[in-house]
Amino acid sequence: MSRIALAVVTPALAACSGRPPVLDPGGPQAARIASYWWLNFWIAVVVLAAVIAFLVDTVVRRRATLTTAIVPVEPRAERRVMIGVSVAVGLTAVTLLGLVIADATTGRGLRSLSGEEPAVTIEVTAQQWWWDAEYWDPVPSQRFRTANEIHIPVGRAVLVKTKSLDVNHSFWVPGLHGKQDHIPGHNSSLTLKADHPGRFAGRCAEFCGLQHAHMQLLVFADPPEVFEAWRAAQRRPAAEPTSQPALRGRDVFMSGPCVLCHTVLGTPAGARLGPDLTHVGSRTMLAAGTVLNTPGHLGGWITDPQSIKPGNRMPASSFPADDLQALIVYVSGLK
């Protein structure tokens, strides 16, 4: 049934990019919500169709003109219609009660996942206009930070703790779960689980200022072994530069303004104002999903971030051309 509806409703709109994420669940919570959606959808279709059909039938059958005399109130017809209205009201109440029960069941199902022991805990601090993700570990030296792109193991519960550093934001990965607002002063959390490997797009869903439109979050669900490998790589300090340009690039980085805001583990750069760059080379996008992570975009982002994401917090920096090339090589190599 759902497939028929999807085929009818979304062909032109979904075009070649597939189903809308809310209706293409990648995890058990999104799946529960999608089921509840379909229940609502079909009820809505039936109710709307019934009302429209009744209206059309009434209007077509009982036409008159303005000079038609006032229709006298006839007790028998009134009583019949009164029963009809009462039945309609009763059906409405029963349907709503059914929806309340279905809603409660769905809610309980969603919360049951929170009871599971999380395999991974990530503290996501939202700020204008990027996502700071710290992977928690009982052993402090095993913790690591990344930004805007997080990896989670397939089939395991992941606890995402939500904090905000400045204004209200909202963590929304529609393919996996509903959203959770990041409200300063009110920390919260949500539990995710992915059923299959994949790339799930997320966005900030609470208006947070100038670049709210460019605050994307990517969630990569990896098979457990792949996830472990990724996590181990993230825990390691920055790769030692091997080529001459990369070495020069590291010097440029350490002697330039980059160190005022960014951390590269294993080097003197330890500031936490901006995203952690230790493994930025392995990320697919830059500037919270605004542009692809290519050397060209990286150069543009370093020298003129305001033209890519006007109003964002990174200031422009100018470097001599050779230094800039070296810097790009170095940063791209931080995989």
Binding site: L13, V51, T68, V85, P174, G178, G209
Partner: protein, 633 residues
């Protein structure tokens, strides 16, 4: 119904009444007018002006979003545009126009000559106009508010919105809402105390009931936004900490206060629209409304329940789960009284004989669109589903279905229905039908795709989007639909313009309707009725009995009849004051205070002192009015 001849000396009485009640000619007369029909017409014209401005803003947004990654409008201007669009539509169009229809029609429908406080009515309009002009002036000077019409803190607070943009918004909102409160008080007192003899509460037209419920909701909801916007203004201007988490303030306090106002606000807009439909459908079904007691109780229930839903706007914030469940149930339950109203309208049509005219088309279109919008509303009452669609284009689709479908469509039908009464001319039926058809199609083309966009993950309030999101087709369809929608509005406005210029004379009662406004000329004289009517029926003009008229009111001065609040038995005669310049001066005084308060807290003091002066002038007794009292011990 055979028309009886009015009592003798009728011609003389009409001349005297005209002299007592008419507005002096010229600009000063216009400035000082205390006629409810004049003030209401001003409100309607101004509100439609703001509607057009708000629509232009919407067109700009649709232009920017038509294709991915367009650079027509940058983020700063876009944020101002959607803030101004929401603020204009909600504060400067929707509520004022509903109240305007109340101010025009309620005195006529209840059989009296004016509202209870005619000069306060005038005050409300000037406050509204000044507030609206100042907000738009700020926008045109590039200091328009840019934090959304809902201005969530901390984004709208002093830390993250520097400059005066949000201060202007906060002060203007508080200021303009005074006009809404003034009109609401006007409606409540007029409905309770000025009804003609015999019009007990259970004989009032449903339209009047809907305006009464709306007015009560305004009285209890508007204070919430006045308190919260005052708190925001103070956080920004004098360093209070209401919303500053670092000093124990709370960002969620804003949301609670705002939505405590914000949810009733949408019912304040919707309930009068149901009043329009409840006036139009019986006329074009040729029979009284079905289920009058159920309709009244549903209106009252909706009014009460509307105050118990606000947290459903906050489901994504950290909230206790039990609290959320309560609001899910209440948000679903409110569908029942709304459903009862829909079923009663359908029953009225079913039992009657349907006359196909443009106003009825809008009422029928409303039923379909409101049911659709209400169904998506019930969907969002559920927390799990809301957590997916909240703050996405799905919500934008939902509220435009209930606000345009559920309020603007009835409004357009109402304007066509009562245009003959207001202007004395009949609108063009063919243009009316074409306008409806284009509007209905254009509306659905514009807003239906937004449901899919929301399910596709598109958040609200984004100034652009990437090509690989899959949202391009939906956005293009929406933007093209907006063109059709615009054409529909142009056709509607063309009909109004045509009517005012070339419409044939309407006569007193072109629709053979049942309520009292159709018992006087079109447009009504300055005194509304030569003799105030009495009633013994819910549909007086369809009643076979010949009702007595009221005599004994003075015709040389403005005098009205005050009746009992419940059963409308005559109680006493009340002298009403005529036009005055003081309401205008008071509005200007308050405006000076509010504008100064944007920059310094002393603005409050300045405004208070200036208003004290103008209010003293307003209420100081005039030179011998013939009403002096004896000085008795």
């Amino acid at each position: 119904m055979r028309r009886a001849v009015d009592p003798p000396h009728d011609a003389v009485a009409r001349v005297e009444l005209e002299r007592a009640w008419s507005t002096p000619p010229g600009f000063l007369g216009w400035l000082t007018s205390a006629r409810h029909t004049s003030v209401a017409t001003r409100y309607i014209v101004t509100a439609f002006g703001f509607f057009v401005l708000g629509g232009v803003l919407a067109a700009l947004m649709r232009l920017q979003l038509a294709r991915p990654n367009l650079h027509l409008i940058g983020p700063d201007l876009y944020n101002q545009i959607f803030t101004m669009h929401g603020s204009t539509m909600m504060f400067l169009f929707a509520v004022p126009i509903m109240e305007a229809f109340a101010i025009y029609l309620v005195p006529l429908m209840i059989g009296t000559r004016n509202v209870a406080f005619p000069r306060m009515n005038n005050l409300g309009y000037w406050i509204y106009l000044i507030g609206g002009i100042l907000l738009w002036t700020a926008f045109l000077l590039n200091v328009g508010p840019d934090a959304g019409w809902f201005a969530y803190v901390p984004l709208s607070g002093p830390g993250y919105s520097p400059g005066k943009r949000v201060d202007i918004w906060a002060q203007m909102i508080t200021f303009t809402e005074i006009a809404a409160l003034v009109a609401a008080v006007e409606v409540v007192v007029t409905v309770f105390k000025l009804r003609c003899p015999g019009m007990a509460l259970n004989r009032m037209p449903i339209f009047v009931w809907s305006m009464l419920v709306m007015a009560f909701m305004v009285i209890f909801a508007m204070p919430a936004i006045m308190v919260s916007s005052t708190m925001l203004a103070m956080d920004r201007l004098v360093d209070t900490h209401f919303f500053n988490p670092a000093e124990g303030g709370d960002a969620l306090l804003w949301q609670h206060l705002f939505w405590f106002f914000g949810h009733p606000e949408v019912y304040i807009i919707f309930i009068p629209a149901t009043g329009f439909v409840s006036a139009i459908i019986p006329t074009f079904a040729r029979r009284p409304i079905f289920g009058y007691p159920a309709m009244v109780l549903s209106l009252i229930a909706t009014g009460f329940l509307g105050f118990g839903l606000w947290v459903h706007h906050m489901f994504a914030t950290p909230l206790p789960q039990l609290g959320a469940t309560f609001f899910t149930v209440s948000s679903m339950m409110i569908a029942i009284p709304s459903g009862i109203q829909v079923f009663c309208w359908l029953a009225t049509l079913r039992l009657g004989r349907v006359v196909f005219r443009a106003p009825l088309l809008y009422a029928l279109g409303f039923i379909a669109l409101f049911v659709a919008g209400g169904l998506t509303g019930v969907m969002q009452a559920s927390v799990p589903l809301d957590l997916q669609v909240h703050d996405s284009y799905f919500v934008v689709a939902h509220f435009h279905y209930v606000l345009i479908g559920g309020a603007v469509f009835p409004l357009l039908g109402a304007l066509l229905y009562w245009l003959p009464k207001i202007s004395g001319r009949m609108p063009n039926e063919r243009l009316g039908r074409w306008g409806f058809a284009v509007l209905f199609i254009g509306f659905n083309l514009t807003f239906f795709p937004m449901h899919v966009l929301g399910l596709g993950g598109m958040p609200r309030r984004v100034y652009t989007y990437a090509a690989d999101t899959g949202w391009a087709t939906g956005n293009l369809m929406t933007s093209l639909g907006a063109v059709v929608l615009t054409i529909g509005f142009v056709l509607f406005l063309a009909n109004v313009a045509w009517t005012l210029r070339w419409g044939p004379p309407a006569g007193d009662d072109p629709w053979s309707a049942s309520t009292l406004e159709w018992a006087t000329s079109s447009p009504p004289p300055s005194y509304n009725f030569a003799y105030l009517p009495t009633v013994d029926d819910r549909d007086p003009l369809w009643s076979p009995t010949e009702q007595p008229v009221v005599t004994g009111l003075r015709t040389d001065v403005r005098e009205i009849l005050i009746t009992d609040a419940i059963d409308a038995t005559p109680d006493h005669r009340q002298h009403l004051d005529g036009g005055s310049i003081w309401p205008f001066l008071t509005a200007v005084a308050a405006g000076i205070g509010v504008i100064t308060a944007i920059f310094t807290p002393w603005g409050v003091t300045i405004g208070a002192v200036l208003c004290a002066i103008t209010l003293t002038g307003w209420f100081w007794p005039r030179v011998p009015s013939g009403r002096e009292a004896r000085r008795s011990a």
